[in-house]
Symmetry: D2
Subunit: 374 residues, 4 copies
Amino acid sequence: MTHTPIRLGMVGGGKGAMIGNVHRIAARLDNRFALIAGALSTTPERNAESAAEIGIAPERTYDDFAVMAREEAARPDGIEAVSICTPNHVHFPAAKAFLEAGIHVICDKPMTSTLEDARALAQIAEEARALFVLTHNYSAYPQLRLAREMIARGDLGPIRLVQVEYAQDWLARPSDSKQAAWRGDPKKAGAGGSIGDIGTHAFQLARFVSGMVPERLAADLTSFVPGRAVDDNAQIMMRYASGAKGALWCSQVAPGTENGLKLRIYGETAGIEWAHETPETLWFTKLGEPARKLRRGAETMAGSRVPPGHPEGYLEGFANIYAEAACAIRARQAGQPHETLLPGIRDGVEGLEFIDACIRSAEADSAWVEVGHG
Amino acid sequence: MTHTPIRLGMVGGGKGAMIGNVHRIAARLDNRFALIAGALSTTPERNAESAAEIGIAPERTYDDFAVMAREEAARPDGIEAVSICTPNHVHFPAAKAFLEAGIHVICDKPMTSTLEDARALAQIAEEARALFVLTHNYSAYPQLRLAREMIARGDLGPIRLVQVEYAQDWLARPSDSKQAAWRGDPKKAGAGGSIGDIGTHAFQLARFVSGMVPERLAADLTSFVPGRAVDDNAQIMMRYASGAKGALWCSQVAPGTENGLKLRIYGETAGIEWAHETPETLWFTKLGEPARKLRRGAETMAGSRVPPGHPEGYLEGFANIYAEAACAIRARQAGQPHETLLPGIRDGVEGLEFIDACIRSAEADSAWVEVGHG
Amino acid sequence: MTHTPIRLGMVGGGKGAMIGNVHRIAARLDNRFALIAGALSTTPERNAESAAEIGIAPERTYDDFAVMAREEAARPDGIEAVSICTPNHVHFPAAKAFLEAGIHVICDKPMTSTLEDARALAQIAEEARALFVLTHNYSAYPQLRLAREMIARGDLGPIRLVQVEYAQDWLARPSDSKQAAWRGDPKKAGAGGSIGDIGTHAFQLARFVSGMVPERLAADLTSFVPGRAVDDNAQIMMRYASGAKGALWCSQVAPGTENGLKLRIYGETAGIEWAHETPETLWFTKLGEPARKLRRGAETMAGSRVPPGHPEGYLEGFANIYAEAACAIRARQAGQPHETLLPGIRDGVEGLEFIDACIRSAEADSAWVEVGHG
Amino acid sequence: MTHTPIRLGMVGGGKGAMIGNVHRIAARLDNRFALIAGALSTTPERNAESAAEIGIAPERTYDDFAVMAREEAARPDGIEAVSICTPNHVHFPAAKAFLEAGIHVICDKPMTSTLEDARALAQIAEEARALFVLTHNYSAYPQLRLAREMIARGDLGPIRLVQVEYAQDWLARPSDSKQAAWRGDPKKAGAGGSIGDIGTHAFQLARFVSGMVPERLAADLTSFVPGRAVDDNAQIMMRYASGAKGALWCSQVAPGTENGLKLRIYGETAGIEWAHETPETLWFTKLGEPARKLRRGAETMAGSRVPPGHPEGYLEGFANIYAEAACAIRARQAGQPHETLLPGIRDGVEGLEFIDACIRSAEADSAWVEVGHG
């Protein structure tokens, strides 16, 4: 089986960006993509410099993503897919432009900056012949795929509790870094602060693994740092249609936490626990039995490249999204059916519905609100 | 300095009880108490058997705690203090009887089964010449004392977040053990299930260490196990007068958890983390500095008996309460002033106020309610 | 079943001692002993003060353990057992005196300060009608008892490897504390420094759990701290008759370690791992299966007093020795047969044989020497 | 700064190989290399298939590495560097061929299969104008670089103890996998089994971080699995010229271990501890102070690509070797001086000296032998 790399473009991810380089490494790691075009920055000079540094040819470097979508679609050697890693408010117009040009889209989260845009994009994606992939990368960790499968087949019994949290400390003080600036600007980030930036990851992961979307939630949002326009901490209670309950805590002001995503799910007969600090360990605890430390090798796991005990982490998990996107794109191009667990439009809409519900609940003094009917 | 052991009696704690033996070991560990009288069970035969097994003389074995209070108070060699470790609803009448007899009381938590009783007991205790100690034992762990001191002196900066949880799994299935039976009976346990049994511990500990009582809370209480008359899981959000926020999760239906009390507090400049599974470790994380693992010896700690690395745990922490109670009792008897961090009436009232607020919030579909004004 | 506490005396353990108080707490914890006589110090004044503080009556306070043995043996209410917790060189004469007086002995380790004494004591004990118990307390941790049982029944397959270590840091610098002083004096401690003080614990534990005594060992002993007369670090390789291999590292100069006893044993089909920092966890790893975290409750364990998740530690483990000694003493007094896993004379002789072999190997530039044929 | 990828070839690493793919990912991860030529297998058909799968053109696919070295050196667009990831015995002739052709070599460990070859290669490398890099990848973990720097600047005081271990379980049973087969064949692997395959990693890492090569060692080598021609377990004691002592344990038959490399170094005033299972954590313990958990961000660390809390692992560490090799190659090509911590010839010779010393000691019943004078 010979792999010809997929021709890839990128929107956003110029100098000073963090996530752009992550997308590039993830695309490159399994040799399934070749990055050949880009609109990396809205500042022409920075765009040119960034492209040169990455090795994108000047004639494939665009100052405007709309031009890029049009011109690349017209080239016989044009890009087949595009990675979108801009601030949130650009996700929608960029994804729209490429999807409508028939170019597959791999987009960072949250999918859009408003729920309205998310729903519009869902409509566009449905009509497009191109794929849309959302980089909820945590759901591509092998151990969390395993957890999902275990829950789906009933290893935990009916689910009672979903406890998820995502704690960071990098916004504990006022910051004017590039990363902090747009995330704190509702016009760019959307109405959510921590709930959009990391809460959506936690929410998606809980849904992905448990298989359940909460019916209602009650949220208490806080902006601890003076002058911050969006929340930097959220306490959220959740209720599921089945009677299960949940809690989600996300914070960007918890000193000593790094990128502390943690998921615990309890059913009638067993529980699972996973923490990002040790991403290759999944704890499985059956009532009355010793806790089992599930690792690669002990349970067979797809999505890893090296033997157990050779730590894989964030970039490898992110690369799994890209590797699977490559498979899905090639299958689509070949007209073949292809099943996938890749996060996509549905996850994106649910993420915005989550943000929307949090905002509505917070405005109603943490009253229970329905998720998805805002 | 020669210690004459304090003459101690016990109410409750007969055969089949769990916590009675804990109180006895804790009282004995530092050789400050001698257990010489008891009303260990309401069943005369079980009472006699239990007393004999423990080594209490038949003439000091009482079938009725009221008789015991009266007769012991009248003896020249009568008990100086009593441990109360009955089901919750007996705490009030027993504590009342001994306090009014001038006998010092060391009582298990929650202090009473109703808020009304708690407030009445507070009144009684205020007028009594005897001391009242409540065995919120976790607050006597040296590392949590250290955490409290660090927060009080500002090592964390102004507090923003209090995350506390207490998860167990022993009630994940229906149970008719003696322990489970009275805890599930509102007439004996009070209105709270998990919130009374373990939630009050979590609440007290968070208050003790942070130095703050929440102003309001919003609670979602659940009874997962069919037929259970009280909650076995609670998600609770908390708001403090300072603007700080908190979350408390307690559960007795989380498979794989044992006695999972965990406390994390975050201030503007630093955080602390403590988990019961490793009670001798306190994590201290200053923003931008490596996490520090505070252990005995590295920071001087009172309340330990052996060098660092010789694990102390639950019984030693519980014994700290007894050792300090002995000091307080001897000081009171000598008419000496005595400062102490021992939990007491105030903690007890607050515990019942917590339960009361949870119930009121739950009845109002998790609306925010004031704590302490029910 | 009514327990009358066993009348206990103590030799050593006066003011400033560490291990004396550990023995007293351990004896007291399960209410099986009453401490009523003592020769706590060789300095009469300190002896009197120490006894008063502990609550031993002046007429049962002796300046000479030989007198104590004789007089207590003659009293109708004399002690039934004695705890010996002096520096090592006193163990032999004291144990001899009490055994010959028919008083049961509970003695700290190493059993004696010379191999010659150890073998002499073995002879004395064999002829005595009293019991001899050696407080290798780690072997009384429930999880290590479980490990022993698992290995004995073949859960690991034939044993290939025994890796044991015991690291401390309290002697990393020159010290003139009372504890350090006698341990560094070969006349009091014996020829071994770290190998005697902690190496014997590691050696005994490895033997207890694995069921195997090494046939030969090769040792490299070091005194890192200038002026120290005994080893403070030892690297030891071990060979077993079965073909199994082992390594033992003990050190008192490893900064950051506390009381770091750790045992790993690997068989053909599975391994176990235990570390003193988390004494209630035993890891069990079968080849090709997830690691299992064996805790109380998941596997039933004797020797614990509280439910799983309520940490028990050093003092409880030490108390298990005392509780079992009480059972053994009462059985002996009643003339009943009694099986026990209590460490005793055999462990003591083996410990001195271990020290002796280490010294001989070190003198022969780490040559392999036989264990037990010095 | 525009990076033109370095043209890379590969010897070995065809289908069924493990480490070949690791080299390819590592080379690709930071976009500093383009793999365009290869002699991936000695079986022509497998070679062609492997090359096609990877995307190497047929005209750059060679059945003989000597031909490849000659022809690529002659092409204007020939490879600038080559990765050698064959079984050990091919390292020497392949490295010789490419170095003599002026092509930079990145070679897997151990450097050769005999000490004689290693010394010969050292001579060749000295005379070559091309670089030689040995992929002792663990030394490129940022935390271990930090540890090295801390020790070099005296943060631990004079070093007393070096404890290193490397435990696996994949050879606990007889295996005829491709990986196991050549590793068990002394003609291909060299005289060392576990000592060559993983012991050299442990030895190099201890030397790299401590800055010290042991002067002498005493080794006990074992082949536990029947029929195995080389050691699968080794207990090794080490002595340094400074008076420091060490121990190295490597095993491939320890059930439940995965790829358990662990390093602990103790100086007079502090210690460090690192374990491969959590590669981004370095423990630093100063005598009398709380242990510090050094992570990225808390201490600035080069060689990482994502913020703290986004786990990096084995592939990223391996990629650090490649990224630094790219810098070194470009500097060499530009005639610029370039300092580097890259492992190379010296590490390779030391590795073979280590294997040689272990074999000599084992043949002399674990006598102390000099390292490097065999």
